[in-house]
């Protein structure tokens, strides 16, 4: 039984007179515990897909089943609850609260989650225990992204979604972040869905989903995933 099933998902934006089909009939499945990479060129609809999966945006038509529950039929309040309880999101630009410390940024999420991990635990997991009391401005980009990951996993979510988490980072830091996501996936068995337009990163995935112009052109298991540290680009 797949943890995630996307079925004929469409998303159309209306830009004045013009209809932009960000997603047209996208379908895919993901099994529990997989490390999934969605690959595609810029503008192919990756973020749109991930946002709908994460309950941050609504679809025009089609279905998204998470643990067999259709989230496209949820109302505003139920969607909020879904985000609160099931989803951990990592953004490209870290998006930490500037006036909260690393630990407090994590608490921001754990306070409202039903079954959270402790901030200390997750900071330990991302290797930033000694930075708990630092504000984002006192952290490097990579460290900020690691706090952001810690914030996402602290809720103990069903799905960990990451939209180009390395997009704003340099190569080495990017690798470290990817390695961290992989480690979490291995140790906790959490399903991770990661977006990238970088083909090399896709090589570390269990499953590679390729997108183009709003459709899924390929959804295949990677027979030999490599370790994050082996990635070169």
């Amino acid at each position: 039984m797949p943890i995630l099933t996307v079925d004929n998902l469409c998303k159309t934006y209306l830009m004045g007179e013009v209809e932009v089909h960000a997603l047209s009939n996208a379908s895919l499945t993901v099994e529990e515990g997989e490390f999934v990479v969605i690959l595609g060129p810029s503008g192919s609809g990756k973020s749109t897909l991930l946002n709908i999966i994460g309950g941050m945006d609504t679809a025009t038509s089609g279905q998204v089943l998470v643990n067999e529950k259709n989230i496209t039929s949820l109302n505003e309040k139920q969607l909020t609850n879904y985000r609160r309880n099931q989803i951990g999101f990592v953004f490209q630009f870290y998006n930490l609260m500037a006036n909260l410390t690393a630990a407090e940024n994590i608490e921001l999420a754990t306070e409202i989650a039903p079954d959270p991990l402790t901030p200390a635990e997750v900071l330990e997991a991302v290797g930033l225990s000694d930075r708990a009391e630092h504000f984002p401005s006192q952290l490097s980009g990579g460290e900020q992204q690691r706090v952001s990951i810690a914030r996402a996993i602290a809720k103990n979510p069903l799905l960990l979604l990451a939209d180009e988490p390395t997009g704003a980072l340099d190569f080495n830091t990017g690798i470290a972040v990817l390695a961290l996501l992989r480690k979490i996936n291995r140790q906790t068995g959490k399903t991770v869905i990661l977006i990238t337009h970088n083909l090399d990163i896709a090589r570390m995935a269990d499953r590679i989903i390729k997108m183009k112009s709003g459709t899924i052109i390929e959804n295949a298991l990677n027979p030999a995933p490599i370790a994050a540290e082996e990635i070169r680009w």
């Binding site: 946002n51 999101f89 630009f93 609260m97 407090e104 409202i112």
Partner: protein, 781 residues
């Protein structure tokens, strides 16, 4: 503490200046509200307690003479608790200065007196010996009369030597005025002495006034008065005055009422401004915090939780400003009450702290700010997390309005075009700053034209409306021709007879007592102007009413009003209002002297004259004449007004300071917000190679244009405030015509520019500290 609250707390801490600026506006609004409201309450309490403790009467009956036991009989009436007789005598004081004429009212005191007791301030508490006198404190102060001083008085053609044994105040003379015509207290030339009953009897015989205090029974006052009139008719009732019409009390009631009005209206202005600023502040904040709101929602915070987060900011301002403002206002109320009381001549003070007012003010402030929060932060609801995370799509480049005017657009230098585009691109932001400047200018215009208005008012009244040097009143009316005798006594350049009498004017349910002045058809003393400022001739028939009086009676040109005489046996007349005249000081009606003689009075008889003269010994020359009741010098009257207006000046000064702070806060706020939300834009310009100086110059240019536009918008705004104030400050004593002159405009402009520059200097620091590159790196800042 919840993490969202931690964020809020740190946000306030990091933008202290801005929080403080809004806080100040709320603080001032609530402080003014509480201070004025409590002062008004304290004043009423004080007056009421004074009246109660010192037996202020409910009814004053003036009659020719009445035996004591007839007065005692009145106490049998169920409506009447106390009825006390007394003797009131007109007299004059002999002084060393032949130029001054000092009128006195002597009031008898008796043992066991319960009503209208003097409040002893120093020396004897009561009149003991026949030759003793208690001197009313205002009079004693104005004439430097001390205990032990000899006072030589003249009444009924006889001289009496009295000794001042004590000084006291009286609830009957909180405002010391000789008559309703005097309009202003003049304690130099009019005073009150409390003398023994024995002495009063030798001067005037029997009691000629009855003071009555009502019982608790409920009854119809008018009915009682007509019953009393009937019962006391044999004793020659001349006047029955209700407490509310008693001269001093009626003025105080008016003052308290106008204090009430001002205490509601001024704070409301401040709070409205505070609410508007808050709305805009929050709207900007929410707009800039899009990403932050997006994250909160992405993490799983509900719409309500995020909304509440921003409303809490407003509530924090409301609560902090409300509470501190209420506390400060309470403290201020004590001081203000003391200040007012000094001016009111009440020798006691009741200052209470009204927890309900404090609580109410805090609640009101929270509700107002909360409501402002709801409106200002409603943008939170429309932010969806997915959209918030996207970098905002660049706004579609649109031709701005100015580009449709090629002749203007072509003439602008490139930087000018950039500035204009910036101004038009973000209309809301521009509107916010513009609003701030406009409100500041409006307040300044309003404040800076007040002092000039008061000077102008007095000056205009006596140089344009009424041109004369002296207004002489006779004790008993004389034939018009007989007034010419005055020409033998003083050097008169011009003289004009007049009749001036109080009448009760009635229209519908409205009643007002006002003097009708009868003047010559082609009077050289008065120049009437109608409400449009056009000259108005005195009609042959009917009345001219001052606009103020017309408003009190709720009548207009063409209406017919009932004119009731206070003189015995005169029939009521119905007269047509032929026109309304602008009159800054006092309320009056005017009539052709001939007509007035025929319809309301006696033909060819006058009771006073207006004179123009260069003679400066008018007073001493008129002294020996027995028929002179008063000699009013215009020069002295103007000086008296100046003094009377001092209180108003203090209020204006306070307003000026408050509006200065307010203006500064608004401009500071709006500039800080404008700069804060443009960090990214500035960073981009920096990266393009603009220097800090150039960016700063651009901001300043933008601000300058907004300031100029703000001032232009501020003009009608200020005028609107002026017209409201005009209504609020208009009393029976004066009508302020608030027409700002060029000087007021200049002052308001300078003050506004100073505010803007001050706020710019404060924000300059902020701009300099801005890490332009950082702003690009971290989008949640």
């Amino acid at each position: 503490m919840k993490k969202t609250d931690t964020m809020l707390y740190r946000m306030v801490k990091n933008s202290k200046g801005q929080f403080f600026a809004v806080f100040m506006i709320v603080f001032i609004g609530i402080c003014v509200f509480v201070a004025m409201n409590m002062t008004a309450r304290n004043m009423r309490d004080t007056v009421n307690e004074y009246y109660r403790d010192y037996g202020f009467a409910d009814l004053f009956i003036e009659l020719d003479a009445i035996p004591e036991q007839k007065i005692a009989e009145l106490e049998q009436w169920p409506q009447i608790a106390i009825a006390e007789g007394r003797i009131v005598i007109d007299a004059t004081l002999n002084t060393d200065d032949p130029e001054s004429r000092v009128n006195l009212t002597l009031i008898s005191q008796k043992d066991g007196q319960k009503l209208l007791l003097p409040f002893p301030l120093s020396g004897a508490k009561q009149v003991k010996e026949a030759g003793d006198a208690l001197v009313l404190n205002q009079f004693a102060a104005a004439r430097a009369i001390q205990i032990g001083d000899k006072l030589q008085i003249r009444t009924g053609g006889l001289l009496y030597n009295l000794k001042a044994t004590g000084i006291g105040a009286s609830s009957e003379f909180i405002y010391l005025m000789e008559s309703a015509q005097s309009m202003l207290p003049d304690p130099q030339d009019y005073g009150v002495l409390f003398i023994s009953q024995a002495l009063a009897r030798t001067m005037a015989g029997a009691d000629n006034q009855i003071a009555i205090s009502y019982s608790d029974a409920s009854f119809d006052e008018e009915e009682l008065i007509s019953d009393l009139k009937e019962r006391l008719a044999p004793y020659g009732v001349t006047n029955i005055i209700k407490a509310k019409d008693q001269l001093s009390n009626s003025i105080i009631t008016q003052e308290l009422d106008s204090l009430d009005t001002v205490s509601q209206y001024v704070p409301l202005l401040f709070l409205t401004v505070a609410a508007l600023v808050l709305i805009m502040l929050l709207a900007r904040l929410v707009k800039n915090d899009r990403v932050k709101i997006g994250i909160l929602k992405a993490v799983g915070y509900t719409n309500g939780e995020v909304f509440l987060h921003y409303i809490k900011y407003a509530l924090a301002v409301g609560f902090a400003g409300g509470l501190t403002g209420a506390v400060a206002g309470t403290a201020l109320a004590g001081a203000m009450t003391r200040m007012y009381l000094q001016y009111f001549n009440i020798p006691m003070i009741v200052v209470s702290y009204y927890p309900a007012v404090i609580g109410g003010a805090v609640l009101f402030s929270c509700i107002m700010c909360g409501a402002a929060g709801l409106i200002g932060a409603r943008g939170v609801l429309s932010v969806t997390p997915a959209k918030a995370m996207q970098s905002e799509a660049p706004k579609v480049g649109k031709r701005i309005f100015l580009q449709k005017l090629p002749w203007l657009w072509q003439g602008l230098p490139f930087s000018g075009k950039l500035v204009c585009k910036n101004l038009f691109r973000n209309k809301k932001r521009t509107a916010f700053v513009l609003f701030g400047v406009a409100v500041t200018f409006g307040m300044m215009l309003f404040t800076s034209c007040m002092p000039g208005a008061i000077d102008q008012m007095v000056l205009k009244f006596y140089s344009e409306f009424q041109k004369m040097d002296y207004n002489i009143s006779f004790k008993t009316p004389i034939k018009a021709a007989a007034a010419n005798d005055l020409k033998h006594i003083i050097d008169i350049d011009y003289m004009e007879g007049r009749v001036e009498f109080p009448f009760e004017l009635e229209s519908g349910h409205k009643k007002e007592t006002a003097n009708i002045i009868g003047i010559a058809k082609n009077s050289r003393v008065y120049s009437f102007k109608d409400t449009d400022g056009k000259p108005l001739a005195l009609p042959d028939d009917g009345l001219l009413l001052s606009t103020n009086l017309a408003k009190l009676l709720n009548v207009k040109q063409g209406d017919i009003i009932k004119v009731k005489s206070y003189l015995q046996g005169r029939p009521d007349r119905y007269l047509r209002i032929e026109g309304l005249v602008q009159q800054a000081l006092g309320i009056n009606a005017y009539m052709n002297i001939q007509q007035m003689g025929e319809q309301l009075w006696e033909k060819n008889v006058i009771n006073g004259v207006y004179i123009l003269t260069a003679d400066d010994e008018v007073n001493s020359k008129l002294r020996p004449l027995s028929n002179i009741a008063s000699v009013q010098s215009v020069r002295e009257t103007m000086a008296m007004y100046e003094q009377y207006m001092q209180m108003t000046y203090i209020s204006i000064f306070v307003m000026l300071i408050f509006s200065g702070i307010l203006g500064f806060c608004i401009v500071y706020n709006s500039t800080v917000i404008a700069i804060g939300e443009r960090q990214t834009e500035f960073s981009a310009l920096r990266i393009l190679g603009f220097s800090r100086r150039e960016i700063l110059k651009m901001i300043l240019q933008e601000n300058n244009i907004i300031t100029i536009c703000g001032i232009i918008v501020g003009i009608p705004l200020g005028m609107l405030m002026l017209s409201y104030t005009q209504a609020a400050f208009t009393t029976k004593i004066y009508t302020i015509a608030l027409n700002p002159g060029p000087l007021a405009f200049l002052a308001a402009t300078i003050f506004t520019v100073l505010c803007v520059v001050g706020a710019e200097l404060m924000t300059y620091k902020k701009i300099n500290k801005l890490d332009f590159l950082d702003a690009l790196k971290n989008r949640t800042n």
